[in-house]
Each structure stands twice: as structure tokens, then as C-alpha cells.
Amino acid sequence: MKNRIFTVLLGMGILVPAASLIAHHSPSAIFDMKNKVSLKGTVTKVDWVNPHIVVYMDAKTDDGKVENWKFESNPPRWFTKVGVNRADFAAAIGQTVTVEFVKAVDGSKYGYLQKIAFPNGNLIALEDSSVKDEIRP
């Protein structure tokens, strides 16, 4: 792989079910849920839109070429409800961050964002629910 995408070690756990709801399709309809990857780059834009927020990032390949990545994540309402606002993401604009995501099956530079780590140690991450969700009829 020419660009700086690294498969996240299995020790990080299997995919985050947090990403498995909203917008009606399941992420598994678009993303390779078993292939969680990590990528370092510079965030260029944050769109606080429904039904998913969208984060744009430029990442350099090993040969210096800049690739434009686009990530969707959970809906704005969900982030707001758990205490994360647009400003928390927008703080990453212009900064070099490390993101973790699952890639679109179609091979495009598109992913479902699950973690963004800031250079100062701050972090926003979707995680497995600590709560057992009951299935109801």
C-alpha cells in the first residue's frame, strides 16, 4: 500500500457498533467493517450536516502525492447528545491528526470515521456501547 494507511491491530477490537446505526443503511452496506485502518493527515473541512457529519482530510502518500479523503460519521444530533459539537471537530481544521476509519468497499477514498486523535492528545472516538442493548419485538 503506497499511502500511509495502516491496518489497525486486532487488539483494538472489532468494529464499533456505534457506527452501525442511523441513516438507514448500515455501514456494512458501504464500508468494509472488518478492515479498520489508520491514516495521518490534515483536516480541511467539517460539514455539520444530516444524516452524517462529514470530515475532509488531505493525506500524503509515501511519494508525496496529496490524496483527498472524505469521511462520514454519526449524525450531528448524536454527537450533540453525547457532548460533542461541531467546534470540537472544527478544532482539527489545519491540524495534522490521526484518524481511524473503515474504508468504503468501492475502493474510493471514503470512510466511516471512528476516531480522531489530535496532536495535543485530545481525542474523539466512537466506541462499543458499554450498555447491553436489548432487542425488542
Partner: protein
Amino acid sequence: MKPHPAIQAVSLVTIAVFSAGVAYSQEQPAVQAKIAATAGKTKPAAAAGKIRRTPDGHPDLSGMWTFGIDLPHGDLKKVVNGKVTTSHYDQTARHHASDDVPGALPWDKTPSYKPEYQENVKNLAANESKVDPVFYCDKPGTPRIGSPRKIIQLPKETIFLYEDISGDTFRIIPTDGRPHRANANPSAYGDAIGHWEKDTFVVETTNFVDDTWFGENGYMHSDKMRVIERLWLTPDGNLAYQATVEDPVVLTKPWTNFARVIPPNNDPIEESPACKEDDGHRLQNLDHHLQR
């Protein structure tokens, strides 16, 4: 009157496999304390057995109530300046919590469609991620939008305010005995009038367009649909909400959904960001899940 042609056309689409995600899910009450910081819950105003009332003697439904649309059920971990927090959003208000909601009508798991519509509904459900209007940011309509986020109960009308990704809508429900509007255009949320049956606020809505679904799983309807919503206060100060759908064109009998119990919630109502779904062309399969 036939359902919307686009909905009929979908019956030709090949049936695919349901994902497990279509089942309702519910979170444990135990998590509620954990999310208290962001949930903004208020203490129930009524002591057990006593409910708030307006000067005219009706129960007072006014207030802000918990957001009622399914959101992802995972956690959010946040690290800020070394401080780690984990948050989880409680969605119990959205789901069937109990069969023992005081005042609730008996309910059915699924609506009963006439035989000639059953295959169509089955196909719509199987292809939901591709054909559900809500997926593409259209209005959920009544009653799929669920319970209101805010209720303003006035002597002659009651106002429902909603937060919804398709646009934050409202319904103004006259309660002074006037009939339905004679010349209103059909709409997704319909034309509503309300009245009280003892301590239950009953909202009767007609004059719908026929291109919304009244529930998950391909629940299409005709423009002859009539929706009866019942709202009342539980003894512990929560809002109870239950909807019945009548449609003599496509259903064999009225369908009553389960009652939801919705706690108060003083989170401010925020304008919903624009809805721009761009994933349709990326779908590789029909995996989908419950949204509302």
C-alpha cells in the same frame, strides 16, 4: 385511491435479506445516570398519582420532551486535556419499554395489510435502504415522526414542535371544536384537530399525501389514511404517546402501535442541520436498520 405509483413500482424489486438491525433495540435504564450531564432531564413535576393540570382542568402536556428518533447506540469517548469522559445517549423513550403503560390501548406488532398489498410491503421493507423516503431526507410524516419535542397547550389550540433531520416541523392542533380545514392541501403531517377524552388528548389527523410511510418496514399507505394519536401524562410525570393508523384502502383493520413513555427533557431545541444523504450510490447491499 391507490398508493403512490413509485411505491407500487418497488414491488418489482427483488426481495433481499433483512438485516438483524430492523429489530427494535432499547437501552438499559441504568445508563441514564451516566448521560445525565447531556440529557438535561428535569425532575418529574408531578408526584405519583397527581398530574399537572391547566386552569380548564385538562392535564397539562406543555413542556419539553425527550428527542424521539433513533440514534446510534454506541458510546462516545472524549479526551480533553487529559480528562477522559465516556457518554451514552439514552433512547428508551423511542422504544417499547413495557406492556404495562397505564392508559395504553392494546397494540399489534405489525399492521394488517390487505392481501393485494402484502407483497408490495414486503418488498419495500426488504429494500428499505434504497426506497425509504426518510433515508433520502424526506419527511417522515405523521405518525412516523413520533412524539413532539415540545408541546404548547393553549385554551383553543395545542402546538407540537418537532426536531427532525428532514426539517424541524410543527403542528397546530385546534381544540375548540372546529372541523378539519375544508380546503387544505394534502401534506406529510396532515390536518389535525384535537379533543380530550377524559385525561387523554386525542389528535385526529387526515388529508395526507400518500408518499410517506407510517412506520418502519415499508408501511405504505393511501391518501385516505387517518391517524389517531393519544397523549397523556403518566402518574410519574412522563408523557405517554400511542398512535393508531386507519387506512381502509390498504389495511384490513386499524393498527395501533405500542405506547411510548417519554421523559421530560430540557435540552434546547436546535435547528437541525441540512440533510444531505449522498450514500445511495455507494450501497453495496441492502443492510439496514431501524431509524424511526
